[in-house]
């Protein structure tokens, strides 16, 4: 098998040249999107360069505290990102539930996946811990964002249906069931869809990266399968926790709907 082709500065220049060509075509076509393309390319370059140096430092220093710190930063960023991307007013209670579900759901999935499935040694090996945690946290973040939006929207738009169910003797759990199920579906469906299309419609980034770096496709595929199952587990666990705890924030201790509009 051939070794990895490291990209020289010239080769990188040609990669960027492609963007310049695209910008030229866009300008000729009269579509005013060249500014966004330029900003996106510059942001991507700066972010990845910085990440590259940080990762090199972390991998070389092999310090468990650094690994833990990176995971905390990822979690905090992901939780903050959910609050922003939900694009609606969220109560303090539901924000707390989002943070709790993300922390418990992703951390337990990360620990299970890295220490039992992959069995890394030492337990904090940043080469495994950081990228795999990133994938699990990132996908759970996307799942929970969809779940939050659907749950809050559902509880607002179907408030009268939930209240009628309460009038008919339903517990809050029964009254909110269809909304909770719907929120869980919308959170988990993108992960299920990506599992269905994987390997046929597209080759996932992690597997492509491993193959390009010279690892056998069989090993890369085994890793990809394991990571997909890990992502599914993490998204499902995080979202189940969120919807099961989240719907309750719309009711008080007397099983009455809270006036949240």
């Amino acid at each position: 098998m051939n070794g990895v082709i490291d990209l020289s500065l010239w080769q990188m220049f040609f990669a960027y040249l492609l963007v310049v060509l695209v910008m030229g075509i866009i300008k000729l076509r009269g579509v005013s999107r060249e500014k966004e393309l330029l900003v996106a390319s510059i942001r991507m370059t700066l972010q990845l360069t910085l990440t590259g140096y940080v990762l090199v430092y972390l991998f070389e220093s092999m310090n468990p505290l650094y690994t833990i710190l990176v995971i905390i930063v990822m979690e905090v960023f992901a939780i903050y990102n959910i609050y922003q991307r939900a694009n609606m007013k969220l109560s303090k209670k539901i924000k707390d539930i989002i943070a709790l579900s993300m922390a418990i759901g992703t951390l337990s999935s990360i620990i299970y996946f890295l220490l039992i499935v992959v069995n890394i040694s030492p337990w904090y090996d940043p080469r495994y811990f950081i990228p795999i945690s990133g994938m699990l946290i990132g996908n759970s973040m996307t799942g929970i964002t969809l779940g939050v939006t659907r749950l809050v929207d559902g509880m607002r738009s179907k408030k009268h249906i939930v209240e009628t169910a309460l009038m008919l003797g339903a517990t809050p759990k029964m009254a909110a069931k269809s909304i909770v199920d719907d929120a869980f579906d919308s959170a988990i469906l993108p992960t299920i869809n990506s599992m269905v299309g994987i390997g046929i419609v597209f080759l996932p980034g992690m597997m492509t990266g491993q193959i390009l770096s010279g690892i056998s496709p069989i090993t890369a595929i085994k890793y990809q399968m394991a990571i997909m199952l890990g992502i599914l587990g993490s998204v499902a666990f995080t979202t189940i926790l969120f919807v099961q705890l989240g719907y309750r924030t719309f009711f008080n201790d007397e099983d009455q709907l809270i006036d949240f509009n």
């Binding site: 009268h160 249906i161 209240e163 009628t164 169910a165 309460l166 009038m167 008919l168 003797g169 339903a170 517990t171 029964m174 009254a175 007397e254 099983d255 009455q256 709907l257």
Partner: protein, 214 residues
């Protein structure tokens, strides 16, 4: 059945003392915005009063589990709410919510006859007219065999004739089956025609109580 003592709810309701007897038809009459629906919601424990006490069978509502109470005291809202699915599913959903035994189609068809609705159980409930939906909602509540029925004026979804028929039916059903009916209406005529006790509310306060038997 109910006793209300010094109850206040926001700036909507302020009741010093009120007793609602069991196994009678009690109507609560008042203009729109006078606090009638709020009173029903308090009795059903969909909301709780800010101050004061509401007793149900001599026990404070605070000490009664809300879900348990709502399985005995069922409220029919002004706007009928229909769930996705057939008439059958809509009739049975109350029994499912209150974890009671589901009933066979024969019994469901009897209920449809009782509420004067000539439709198949398989018909899609969403496609019914406002009045028909109100009758399905009423049938759903009767199937649950509650001790107390709280009926918020159904007039918004019905024409006068249908409204009269429905209230007549519910009043007769309640008397025949020894149920307590608390009926909210804006119509003095309906109240006079069907109720044993008439409570008039004005701006959140009780202005008069009249009993036919007195």
């Amino acid at each position: 059945m109910y006793e209300i003592r010094n109850v206040k709810y926001k700036n909507i309701l302020d009741i010093d003392n009120l007793k609602i007897p069991e196994k009678k038809v009690t109507s609560i009459v008042g203009k729109s915005g006078s606090g009638k629906t709020t009173l029903l919601r308090l009795l059903n424990k969909l909301i709780s009063c800010d101050t004061g006490t509401i007793l149900f069978k001599d026990k404070s509502l605070k000490e009664i589990n809300s879900v348990e109470l709502r399985r005995k005291v069922i409220m029919l809202p002004q706007q009928p709410i229909i769930f996705e699915g057939s008439i059958r599913e809509n009739l049975l959903i109350g029994l499912e919510f209150s974890e009671k035994e589901l009933l066979p189609d024969d019994r469901l068809n009897e209920i449809l006859k009782l509420v004067h609705l000539d439709k198949s159980l398989d018909s899609e409930a969403e496609k019914l007219s406002g009045g028909e939906k109100q009758r399905v909602a009423l049938g759903r509540v009767i199937l649950m065999d509650p001790e107390v029925l709280l009926l918020d004026e159904p007039s918004s979804a019905l024409d006068d004739l249908t409204e009269d028929k429905i209230i007549e039916f519910v009043a007769n059903y309640s008397r025949d089956n020894n149920k307590t009916l608390i009926l909210v209406t804006h119509s003095k005529d309906i109240s006079k025609k069907y109720s044993d006790i008439e409570i008039v509310i004005e701006s959140g306060r009780i202005s008069s109580i009249e009993s036919k038997e007195a």
